[in-house]
């Protein structure tokens, strides 16, 4: 592996003004064409192609369209968006402005999680500087396009990171996910066509316009292009934010961060999957283990049941309670974990819990309930021996 991988390696070299200048010189169709050619996929976890999303929103009819930056970053183990916003906020603002021009929106909103309130002041002052420099406002870079950005704060609800719940929250409602379709690109904020993208996605857009779609597409794999930030925590010598090309093997990543002797890693946060050491040759990419970038490392001494329990407690608390599979299912799974902890869960009942998890994946209304059983199911399938027939409760 080459050179330094720690921190915002690529992003710290990108000039946001050069990116914006390159974009404003293009037509809307050319901008979307460039994003499509880069094969950029959303960095927030779901991996939807950004060019496709923007194209749909550009084609949709509406009086006022919106660009929303999802800075809710609530997925356990993820902190790369915080680092981007703290160190290179102008890349994000430039990316949002490019998005506004592309779809024909004049207003952008950053939905910043309440836990990051300490970032707000510096972001507001960075926005003010951009207005003063003519990079935001009625005439962006003296062109006949207007765009401005407002910051709105979250209030401590993980589910508001889900894009339709986020929009509900912006509209002054409880953060309860909507049925999809219709998708935000048609019916988003205030019923208008809206693109919702992750912080890192917008920063990637700026990088693409500064260095070219071909450059971006040449990094990573065929289906997973570009550099990707990973938030690494847990049992390793050098935790922190790293940049790797997509497609990196789990074992390579662990070597880089000093976590070679791990017994498992959780990829993608609480809603992601647990990968045991026997599968460390798998790759972090949209075609294999997909992730928004959270990597939690578990050393040989860790109790995987304690891990599963911690995640399930999270979901019981964060479920919005709107639909039954998620509301009841997570509580049932937690109850099952407590039975395992006390050493009184039969193999037949564990089977039932597994089936329940699979039903939740299919029948839940939004991504929270669809993915909340993932960690439990993958831990059960790889560490069954460690979970069953306990005489000792949890090991801490």
């Amino acid at each position: 592996m080459s050179a330094n991988r720690k921190g915002l390696v690529t992003f710290s070299t990108i000039d946001p003004n050069a990116a914006l200048a390159a974009a404003v010189a293009k037509t809307r169709a050319e901008i979307i064409g460039e994003v499509t050619a880069s094969k950029l996929k959303g960095r927030g976890g779901a991996g939807f192609p950004t060019g496709v999303k923007w194209n749909l929103a550009a084609a949709a009819k509406g009086d006022a369209k919106y660009v929303i930056c999802n800075a809710d970053e609530g997925e356990p183990g993820t902190f790369k968006d915080r680092v981007i916003l703290a160190e290179v906020p102008d890349l994000v603002f430039a990316g949002m402005t490019i998005g506004g021009i592309a779809i024909g929106a004049v207003k952008g909103i950053i939905y910043l999680r309440g836990e990051y309130t300490y970032l707000r002041e510096q972001l507001e002052s960075a926005l003010a500087k951009r207005r003063a420099a003519g990079l935001l406002g009625p005439q962006v870079m003296d062109k006949a396009v207007a765009f401005d950005i407002e910051i709105r704060m979250g209030s401590g609800a993980y589910v508001c990171g889900e894009e339709t719940a986020l929009i509900e929250s912006l509209e002054g409602q409880r953060g309860e996910p909507r049925n999809r379709p219709p998708f935000p690109v048609d019916t988003g904020f205030m019923g208008q066509p809206t693109i919702v993208n992750n912080v890192e996605t917008f920063a990637c857009v700026a990088a693409i316009f500064a260095k070219g779609a071909a450059w971006f597409a040449s990094i990573g794999t065929e289906k997973s292009t570009g550099p990707k930030l990973f938030s690494v925590s847990g049992d390793c010598a050098r935790p922190g934010v790293y940049e790797f090309p997509l497609g990196i093997m789990v074992s390579e990543l662990l070597r880089e961060v000093g976590g070679e002797n791990a017994k498992a890693v959780q990829i993608g946060g609480a809603s992601g999957h647990c990968v045991p050491s026997s599968e460390f040759t798998r790759t972090l990419s949209y075609e294999d283990v997909s992730t928004g970038g959270s990597v939690m490392v578990f050393g040989p001494q860790r109790d995987m049941l304690a891990v599963a329990k911690n995640f399930m407690e999270f979901f019981v608390e964060e479920s919005c309670g709107q639909c039954t599979p998620c509301r009841e299912g997570n509580a049932k799974l937690l109850e099952g974990i407590e039975m395992l902890e006390e050493g009184r869960c039969s193999a037949a009942y564990l089977d039932e819990l597994t089936k329940l998890g699979e039903v939740m994946q299919l029948a839940s209304k939004c991504g929270l309930g669809q993915s909340s059983p993932n960690a439990f199911l993958s831990i059960v399938s790889h560490f069954q021996d460690e979970l069953m027939g306990r005489t000792h409760g949890l090991v801490r």
Binding site: E73, G74, E75, P76, G77, T78, F79, D81, R82, R113, G114, E115, Y116, T117, Y118, R152, M153, S155, G156, A157, Y158, S169, L170, E171, G172, Q173, R174, G175, M190, S231, V232, S233, G234, D235, P239, G240, V241, Q266, A270, M296, F298, R302, A306, V307, N310, F311, F314, E317, E318, C320, R396
Partner: protein, 175 residues
């Protein structure tokens, strides 16, 4: 609540609605500011906000109860939220939790009798590589040890009086 206090709340809400606009989408920003200033969103505040925005108070109540950072019950001037998610857990958050409880004489979910401190759990606050992590109001503290707990609490206690974050806001709102 004292009448003068109620009057102040009423005026503050009027000003906030003016600033954010009398629209439904302003509801949460208004509530966030009321929460920060008063440590709670009282029944009276909900009624007042509802009147201004032309919605039923039940609508306001349903929003207040949904969000972890908004609430009807009074929270202390310093709300301490300790991350309980797995990376901070593995980094030793349990020791920090015990120390906080011991030093404050309350358990999680409670507020000290003098109204100064509230202790809450938080889910991952995005400092997982520097755990255990906690927030005191809007400030973040990382790599917290049981020793550091004492320093953090001292810092809060010292910032009472003219230097207190909360009291400053208070003055601003009145100015």
């Amino acid at each position: 609540m004292l009448l003068t206090e109620q009057q102040r709340l009423k005026e503050d809400i009027g000003r906030l609605v003016e600033r954010y606009g009398a629209e439904r989408s302003s509801l949460i920003p208004v509530l966030q500011d009321v929460q920060a200033e008063y440590g709670q969103i009282s029944e009276y505040a909900m009624q007042e906000v509802a009147d201004h925005l032309g919605i039923h108070p039940v609508e306001v109540y349903s929003v207040v109860t949904f969000y972890a950072f908004l609430g009807e019950t009074y929270q202390g001037k310093f709300v301490i939220r300790l991350c309980r998610t797995i990376s901070c857990d593995m980094a030793g958050k349990e020791k920090v939790a015990r120390q906080l409880e011991n030093d404050l004489g309350i358990t999680f979910g409670q507020t000290t009798k003098d109204g100064k401190f509230s202790l809450e759990w938080a889910n991952c606050i995005g400092m997982c590589d520097q755990g255990p992590a906690l927030l005191v109001n809007d400030h973040v503290f990382t790599s917290v040890t049981s020793e550091k707990v004492h320093d953090i609490l001292q810092l809060c206690r010292k910032s009472f009086g003219p230097l207190a974050v909360h009291d400053n806001r208070h003055e601003e709102a009145r100015a």
